[in-house]
Symmetry: C3
Subunit: 638 residues, 3 copies
């Protein structure tokens, strides 16, 4: 007997001590009755040995003459007590003789079948929440989700006409129907669909929620290397893993936006693959990974208005066309800063949860109110040295621990690509070494990723990136050959760029004794090719640091921007930008970054004023051997 | 008895007074016979009480011995008169004894069922025109259209082989087959398909045409506000409404190109929504709106060669892939000028009707020959103050009057966005006020639309635009929040742009006493962001007019273009452009616009020569307080 | 009796003269037995007139008492000789009385049905190689290819679960199953699928290979005009035709990349149409042409990293989504030079065969190792005068000779568009004249193609190009009107461009007496429109040659590039580029082309240094009347 049926309802009554006689709704079945209870009955047949009575359309039985006091004709009403439900389903009643009683109406509470237990051919009832409503040219398809799984339910009103138009995404519903096989998966042909309200809706929602929470539980994985600092992030990552798994279980799509460089690739690919595999276990549809997850590189170091407009537009069309929920947005190696706020504010008007895993210096005051989750080492008093790739390898393993063997080399690739000076870099490199990746291999994988990212531009490049990173790649030799090819090309292109640039680099010694190198990238660098201005400046700076030693500042400038890198000088770029904006009238100065690495924008016609003022400020800066530009070099204006 | 059957054909004969004996084609049915007529018959059975005769494969009957003069064996021929068609379908003949007669051959004219009256399971004949021919891997699908509706007819020749290859799009056909249910809609499985010719084809075409004309009839709607000037346009708009509805009924796709600004959005979205809703009532396929209407913003103020090439390419592929007709092109808030001619000429080689609704100063001599319809207030001696948004709200209501309640605020948004000085602006604002939109709300909706349009670039952005304009939007609060967010951003970005620009604006007093402001947008404006050069110049100009008062001329120039705005000066920009092109040798000057607002292009290396010459001309211009740049400011080079 | 069955296996035995008794595997059928042979049998029934015996699960028969010596019960074993297989399939045995014998085990060798002979409803066995493996939400679909055809085989393991995961693309397999009809085509529902190994696999592969080779055999076509020089290329083209036909038969997609100009269009469209028609005859699926061939214009004169990255990405996604083989890359009128090497190297890591048909000056040493086929007139001591369009018309005819009538005018269009000075140009023009195309028509078709290509940019523009070239075009008049329109526009735009440019062209007389014309295209040409810099410089040069006569050099330069054209001067541009790169420090000079036509790139800030050095070198060049820039003019930096 299920919860909330007639038998239970007796326990809810107040202290009225009169016996209860149940009045069953016509659609009540054997699920709704209990031996010993009293029922209102109607005679439907008179036989030699007694009368047959109905207590609902579906429940009938004999009152044997031995249990019958009165004399009844068909259609007469009487009270009965349920004496016995035999194994064959026959029901036996006795006439009840009650002087005083009260009547309790009973609704039908069918046996609810969990979605995971659906059998083809059976007639079932499910209780679930609606996660997709797709109107086809024929029936309306409701994808419904209970604590145990997700199933498509087809309801036909009229060709192309929305069935049950009162039902909306997210509603709790009770559906009765027949389980059929559709392309090999169970599917329910709806006979009735009821939108639940009040306590029923709340109960179903709570059950689904509990089930999802349970099934969304991430896996506990052992750290790949011992690293105390990292452990502070683990609970946050675990929450993100749970939210992502839950998002998959609910059938909500996920859109991943990530920084298009080595660390960003190391972060996003493992999570993408882990989620795709999880999606495959949850959803019968082979196309589900394609519909439910989409990874897109961002060219800018933040979420641009144009990108968010396009993403939102795409999501809204998906909702309209496929009746899907709006996606969860997962920002990887991007998304922690104030510059992301406008994009987030745009999304805030829609049901788009936003989760950020990033290691760039965050502006939590600006972004946190707009985010559902924000994992960033700076938020736990660590810093950029814990790269996003390192975090996301753990995240991927929490989602799908079977990926572990494919991922052991990835944190090292991510760390070297982002020049992390983390104490555990050596451990990561050793770990990769055990898998057969030498340090040089790892560096070159990072370079190859960066090079591939450059040419892929806005494309996902799934298989190519998989092959380069050797994650979800089925051909080791191809991986090796590709990395060789791409890393060679990357190195050659960088050499070529620096060779063209070198004669044009201007050198001076600032009054604070720092070496200043500056070069006009628009005039003297190859344009629209690899490496782009940010990376070009970074590479130039590194060479100069090697040549001259600290303190070194490098400025690579174009018509309306400058990329800044420094080592050994106590700069504060964000403050400088603020001052320049004030001092250079009509300069339109903006930008920022970190203390010693960043980029600034200005209007083209004020370039020399802006750069001269900038250099003056740099000459006033104190020297500080500790400060290195390695930090956020991947976020130059590339 | 249907038109054109045997009975009728008698009426067509000349004065030959001999009796007619009909010779039925083998496929004639009871539909083709009439009591009292004579027929050639063949004996197919001899019984005790007479002989059975065939007058076609399908029509047989008894000649009772009482009506029989001769003595016949099976296969003998005789003449009979049709005596009776009984209720059960039995047919009785009498032998006819005619000395002299003439024979008239009769083709089968089946009972034709109107498409709207098709019943599942019946065998029917339809007469229709073909509006789509799609070859699938299995059968060929002909979508056919009669006076009452449209239906898919599937014909199978061999897997993937085109059935009835002689039939082309637009042909008139007679199809016999069985009505089946396909995804809930009726569909005819073709048994025979005949391409009609000559009078039959003409008749069917005329019937379909009459039916379409009838069903395409637009609705008569009361004006939202009383406005005499506007009423001159109503008949033209009514014709466009009829053509658009008819296009939907015929199953021809519609491609909307519109100006990507506030007024353009106010014009195109209501028409798009009205057409989508109408498509849904006409076509069973839920995907039909997606296949049959596509709205695309144009970035340029005219229809560019690149856009038309892409559109044409897309249309031709659609025809090849889906066997669809080429689309009708609907140009909104764009398309009236000579600059659109090359694009139109490109389309003229294909069956692409073009309809323009625009309020920019038209070149009817250049464009009208290329258009199927051209609605423009200037063509009825009105002007830009009747904005395209105002016209299209009426157009949308004529297509689907039930949209009215969603559209009351739209003319005011359109008018304010385009700074219309129409006498009825106050009425439109009042009308919107009744719906709860204050004047400031309306202005901000326009700003939000303009801002969204900027970031959407070439995307349609259906839902986003719906939400901003609050048309076809299901969440009022989201509408409000979005407008707040986008309008705030737009204002902030404009302020930021003008702040950067302001110190660089050069001011001089021309000899005619006009204030001239000029600024190098390439050097001093933020590039590739909102607001673009056209809008930046417009905003700058407005501020200057406010600061200094008339007469004011503003020039915002880039490397190879300049945007011009003026108030209170009698400029004639088109004439100036013509003069400059002649005077500045090798300047490559082109462009134009309206008298006091426009943009010009030139080759980069001749910028200073062009601008100096331009300023000289401006200094010679007379002042005229009446002339304001508000007119067509939305068509600057943005 | 099929190869390798029991009967044959006797012939393989050594000289052991004892009789053989075959021991059939349980799944052996009537296909595996032969009258006269001995078999191990088991009694399965005893009747009055003898015993019934099984020699496999499927093969049973009577040993009549007259042929029976012993006395047997059910399950007893005995030796039998196969006496007779009656027409109705009944089998009669005689007991065999052998003293000494040896046993040979026999595996089931079913009758293998060729794919072209599959009949709906039959149970069959095929042997084939796997050319596509597509996992659907239901079954796994294996597209299999034998010597005679290709067929889809569906295997169901569980919904969305990969059946036979051990089977990979390219494997040889034996499939037993039932032939069903799917959308009108035969399809095999798999009952068993065996991955063949060792000799079996080799045999099947060899059979499929031989069959494909046979069916791939190109057609022998008579040359359109007599041309000895061309005949040297015919065997190479024949090999390419064979490879392309074979690629279609194998179900491997083809991706065509071609130069986006007149000759490139004349080359690629005929081949595309021929292949599409061939695909249609081979594959049942009407969408097959769309899935199996894709033509894309390349804007650059070589295969750019960005393009190859995108193509590879697309191909890998196709493989993942549709289980397709990676495509064959067909480079037309592009692809012969060293600049294509990086792209080819990128593809080398994947199974992407590359075929080049080009007439630009090749670097065979650099590219040939990376190519599967390379057809280029220079490789047979001819030159650019044999245009790619001329070669590809023959190639298309070898693939589908029925195209011949549509193609007679195409070599002339190609030759005139590329200004070929081939001796046979007059013959080609005459040939076209017979089809009604005057010389001027042909030139204008070329111009129209070039103009259309410009605006199509990266789009294929299939129908539009078909209509302009009048190949696969169904409306002669549309062809004529389109050519008129586009060619007029092209001419007008060229005139406009040259008019703007003319006053800015600087003229000087070099010390070697050559006329030097130079012009700053960035400053004085209209940008981002037709004609682009390469074509603009070419047209300017042609006019100057006409005006002044040889020797003439023309330089059109932009911020970081220059386009070079010369007539009558012995330049060696590749050498000049190498020298400049060395001499102009920090100039970043690269580029090349042919001796007297080419383009160079440099960093923007070093433009004047580079161009001055270049002009000095030009002044030192010897004059040579023979040298003309017509050669590779289509490969300027356009």
């Amino acid at each position: 007997m299920t919860a909330g049926t007639a038998g239970d309802s007796g326990t809810d009554t107040d202290d009225d001590s009169r016996p209860i006689v149940y009045d069953l709704a016509p659609d009540c079945t054997a699920d709704d009755i209990e031996v010993g209870n009293y029922y209102h009955a109607v005679v439907n047949g008179v036989v030699a040995y007694g009368v047959f009575v109905d207590i609902s359309d579906d429940v009938s039985g004999l009152v044997h003459e031995s249990n019958l006091t009165g004399d009844y004709d068909v259609s007469d009403r009487l009270l009965v007590r349920l004496d016995e439900i035999r194994e064959n389903g026959d029901v036996a009643f006795a006439e009840a003789d009650l002087d005083d009683y009260r009547t309790v109406a009973v609704d039908h509470h069918p046996t609810v079948t969990p979605i995971e237990a659906l059998d083809i051919g059976e007639t079932v009832t499910i209780e679930a929440t609606v996660s997709q409503i797709k109107q086809t040219a024929g029936p309306t398809v409701f994808r419904c989700c209970d604590a145990t799984g997700i199933v498509a339910c087809t309801a036909f009103e009229d060709a192309g006409v929305r069935a049950y138009p009162e039902v909306e995404l997210g509603d709790a519903v009770r559906i009765a129907g027949t389980v059929e096989e559709h392309e090999g998966s169970p599917q329910i042909e709806v006979e009735s669909l009821t939108r639940l309200t009040d306590e029923d809706a709340e109960r179903v929602r709570a059950e689904v929620d509990a089930g999802l929470t349970d099934r969304a539980e991430p896996h506990d994985v052992d750290p790949l290397v011992e690293w105390e600092a990292f452990e502070k992030l683990r609970p946050d990552l675990r929450d993100v893993a749970q939210q992502l798994r839950r998002t998959v279980l609910e059938g909500r799509p996920i859109r991943v936006r990530h920084h298009a460089d080595g660390d960003g690739m190391c972060a996003s690919l493992p999570v993408q693959v882990a989620l795709e595999r999880f999606i495959r276990t949850v959803h019968d549809d082979d196309d589900a990974p394609r519909h439910l997850i989409k990874r897109l590189p961002s060219k800018a170091p933040y979420y641009e208005m144009e990108d968010v407009t396009r993403d939102l537009n795409f999501a809204l069309e998906g909702r309209e066309r496929h009746g899907q929920k709006l996606p969860l947005l997962l920002m990887l190696d991007n998304g922690s800063t104030e510059e992301d706020v406008p994009a987030y504010e745009n999304l805030a008007h829609y049901d788009v949860p936003i989760v950020v895993v990033d290691h760039h210096h965050p502006d939590p005051d600006a972004v946190n109110d707009l985010l559902d989750a924000h994992v960033n080492p700076y938020l736990v008093d660590e810093d950029y040295r814990i790269t996003t790739g390192m975090m996301c390898v753990e995240l991927a393993r929490m989602i799908d621990p079977e990926m572990t063997d494919e991922l052991r080399h990835v944190p090292a690739v991510a760390g070297l690509a982002d020049r992390s000076k983390a104490e555990t870099m050596a451990d990561f490199v050793d770990l990769a070494d055990e898998e057969g990746y030498g340090r040089d291999d790892l560096v070159r994988i990072g370079e190859a990723l960066d090079y591939a990212a450059h040419w892929l531009r806005y494309s996902e490049g799934k298989t190519l990136v998989s092959d380069v990173l050797n994650v979800d790649c089925d051909d080791e030799r191809r991986h090796e050959e590709l990395v060789d090819f791409l890393a060679d090309r990357a190195e050659r292109d960088i050499d070529r760029q620096l060779a063209a640039l070198d004669p044009h680099v201007e050198h001076e010694r600032l009054s604070n004794d720092a070496h200043l190198y500056r070069v006009d990238l628009d005039d003297f660098a190859h344009r629209f090719t690899y490496p782009a201005p940010g990376k070009t400046t970074g590479n130039l700076h590194d060479r100069k640091v090697e040549e001259t030693g600290d303190p070194v500042i490098t400025i690579g400038y174009g018509p309306d921007f400058a990329v800044l890198r420094s080592d050994g000088v106590r700069l504060d770029i964000p403050e400088m930008v603020a001052e320049l904006d004030e001092e250079v009238v009509g300069g339109g100065v903006s930008g920022g970054g970190h203390l010693v690495v960043g980029s600034i924008k200005f209007v083209k016609g004020m370039r020399s004023e802006v750069i001269e003022s900038l250099v003056e400020k740099m000459a006033d800066a104190e020297l500080d051997e500790e400060l290195s530009s390695a930090a956020a070099l991947d976020h130059g204006d590339d």
